[in-house]
């Protein structure tokens, strides 16, 4: 019994020693420190700042008014009065307006033909042509939808005049027999930042952990005389499992701090939607951080030079963001990419975080994601142990020579 206890104690001391050793390495290595501390601290602030204004207002448009009527002026005035569109230029003809688009001064053109008022007054359908610069989707939507809404309002006003009603209530029913109310949920302003940022925050967590671990591993190899991952001059590094646990403790600790900062401090600073309770966040972030750490440990065995992990991780970050289904809906992601996305903790971490944090879901509502995160954590832990055992044997072999 006492031998067992002794071995257990010995194991523990080794784990704690490796933990301390890794921690010191992280703090002394400015490259690792940059990715584990500066990136999680600074990057989210920068991104939040970029998207801080959330929505696009006053998209500049040019108007070509060939009708020169009271009705056309009312339409232009109505469009200009909306928050989304700003009538910045009046052009004489389409060519002049086109050159304004070419010089990036306006994002769209409203062309009101010369027979506009005439047709409307005759009781026929008149048409306003809208030319959109399609290079900016947000601007296109603002320019086009404003025109549609204002044309509808103008038409409703004309119909009310024609109807000859007595009361305001009758007018309202003429304009809109069926009221349709649209309610935006979970991101009421429809802002770009509130939509994309939670995903970016979670992705930063995984990428920072993986990059940090990878770079530290690369440094360890480069410092080693045989180019091995596991030092052979330190008696505490004498088993693969204690190395994995020791490293996991170190990076898990840093990851926990980063996770708390990213999930609570940053959204609060920039007042992004936050409906989660602390415990829900905890139960969601725990498996995600663990899965990211073990994922990082597994990947770190693949790198020979410390710079290579940077090339790899930077390359995958944009595709990873796409596979989470935040900018491109999950239901439209082709099946094979859905399959690939299962390899990465970020896919489920981001989905669970958005639902818990932005949409106020309870843990039971994101149970499928949480389950997969735990499975990923377990599988990557197993794989980390396997690859570290392999590395351990390699190091032994080299040391023997």
């Amino acid at each position: 019994m006492s031998t067992f206890l002794n071995r257990l104690r010995e194991h523990f001391t080794d784990v704690l020693h490796i933990w301390r050793h890794e921690m010191v390495k992280v703090i002394k290595d400015e490259g690792v420190l940059m990715f584990l501390v500066v990136v999680p601290l600074g990057y989210p602030l920068l991104y939040s700042w970029i998207y801080n204004n959330e929505t696009l207002h006053e998209t500049p448009v040019a108007v070509v008014d060939q009708s020169h009527s009271a009705l056309s002026r009312q339409f232009i005035h109505d469009c200009d009065a909306t928050p989304d569109v700003h009538v910045k230029y009046y052009a004489e003809d389409l060519d002049e307006a086109r050159s304004l688009v070419s010089r990036q001064l306006v994002r769209g053109i409203y062309l009101i033909p010369s027979d506009f008022a005439e047709l409307v007054n005759r009781g026929e359908q008149a048409t306003v042509s809208v030319y959109c610069d399609m290079s900016l989707m947000l601007a296109y939507k603002a320019v086009y939808q404003t025109a549609v809404v204002e044309a509808g309002r103008l038409g409703a006003g004309l119909n009310i005049k024609k109807a000859g009603n007595y009361t305001k209530r009758e007018d309202a029913i003429t304009a809109q027999p069926l009221v349709v109310e649209g309610v935006t949920m979970y991101n009421p302003s429809g802002g770009y930042g509130s939509c994309v940022l939670p995903a970016v925050l979670m992705l930063i967590l995984q990428q920072a952990i993986a990059l940090g671990i990878g770079m530290a591993a690369g440094t360890a190899r480069e410092r080693h005389r045989n180019g091995q991952l596991i030092p052979d001059d330190d008696p505490h590094y004498r088993g693969a499992y204690r190395i994995v646990w020791g490293k996991a403790l170190c990076y898990g600790m840093i990851g926990a701090v980063a996770a708390a900062y990213l999930s609570m401090a940053v959204p609060a600073m920039f007042s992004f939607p936050q409906l989660a309770t602390g415990w829900n966040l905890f139960w969601m972030l725990l498996p995600y951080t663990l899965a990211s750490v073990f994922f990082g440990l597994t990947v770190s065995c693949l790198v020979r030079y410390r710079e290579n992990v940077m090339l790899l991780m930077v390359f995958v970050s944009v595709p990873l963001l796409f596979m989470t289904g935040v900018s491109w809906p999950q239901s439209s992601i082709p099946g094979y990419w859905q399959g690939v996305s299962w390899l990465f903790p970020s896919t489920f971490g981001v989905r669970a975080f958005i639902r818990v944090n932005s949409m106020g879901a309870s843990i039971s509502q994101v149970l499928p994601e949480i389950r997969i995160l735990w499975i990923q954590a377990a599988v990557y832990l197993g794989m980390a142990c396997l690859v570290y055992r392999h590395q351990f044997r390699l190091a032994r072999k080299w040391a023997g020579k």
């Binding site: 490259g31 900016l136 947000l138 991101n187 090339l311 944009v318 439209s332 639902r355 879901a361």
Partner: protein, 389 residues
Amino acid sequence: MKYFSRILDIALRELGILWRNRIYGFCMIVFPLLLVVFFTTMLDEGIPQDLPIGVVDQDNSATSRGLIRNLDAMQNSRVVYRFANVTEARCAMQEGKVYAYLYIPEGTAAKLLAGRQPQISFYYTMTCMTAGSMASKDMKTIGMLGSMAVGRAKLSAKGASSRQIRAALQPVSIDAHMIANPQSSYNYSLTTVFVPGILMLFMALLSAYSLGMEMKFDTGKEWLARADGNIVVAILGKYLIHALVFLLVIFLYQYYIFEVLDFPRLGGVWKIVRLSLLQVAGSLGFGIFAFGLMPSLRMSMSISSLWFVLSISMCGSAFPVAGMDAPLQAMSWLFPLRHYWMLYQATVLNGFPVIDVWFHFVALIAFTLLPWFVLRKVKNAMLNYVYIP
């Protein structure tokens, strides 16, 4: 002539380096091609279709069923769930099963017929903006059609022709011209910025990497010796090969999207070639400059990668630069991708003359010339610095 042969000599040496270090092969050819495949297949639909949507139909009338059928028939929406009440629908939304739901309260049809202005509501989540705005667009259309159905029935009973009905219901219609992207496809607008953006990231990273590797393995002295100590010749020779390989990859990518996938473009081939040359030169220039500022492999690579990852947001293709805070608008000038994208959308996508965006053209040339300021520092680093892991 002397310079020429030296440049060629260094270029051949560089070719050997690219051949031996597998990282170059991966980052210059394999990863970029994977990216092209990833984005073009991922966004193949162009616009999201058949988004899962739920309905809460408490009216259960012919009218409400008609509305739901119409919604299901829309291109972007598919009705996959019918919920008994709003709470159930909201839970399904939180679980990620639906992006939106339509709520038709009891008595809608009866009120509609009696002219008592009933109200139906749709709820959509904007946590995925593409899905949310698509679903809300479809539901808005359905609501409008529902409104018009009443008027249409009344007018046709009075004997109006279909043309008269159309004019009466919608006195002013909108005729939309979506220039250079008539399908409003996300594939056309996202692939064309993400692929070049990440390619530029690789260009900058690898140009810093290749200088850093010379220092790391202490081959810089030999490299400079081949150029007879002339750093300009040394750099020209080294990056000639990088530029050629990247140009080849870019042309492959452009051939694929413009010729095979038929991405729209109003600009001609020369405009594409000119843009590609600037893109490669500007990015390589940035990478060399980053190394010159901080002659350390890891710092210059870290700076390049952080800068270029940021540039994907700062180029303003998703959230426009005009919508950002003023200091950020000024800062956007420091990102090569911003200039690339402005030139791309103006000259290649819309086919406008380059003179209208000349400042972005000049900016990319300025990025190309940036290494000029750090040439001496790079030389000094090669000759005197020692790599510390």
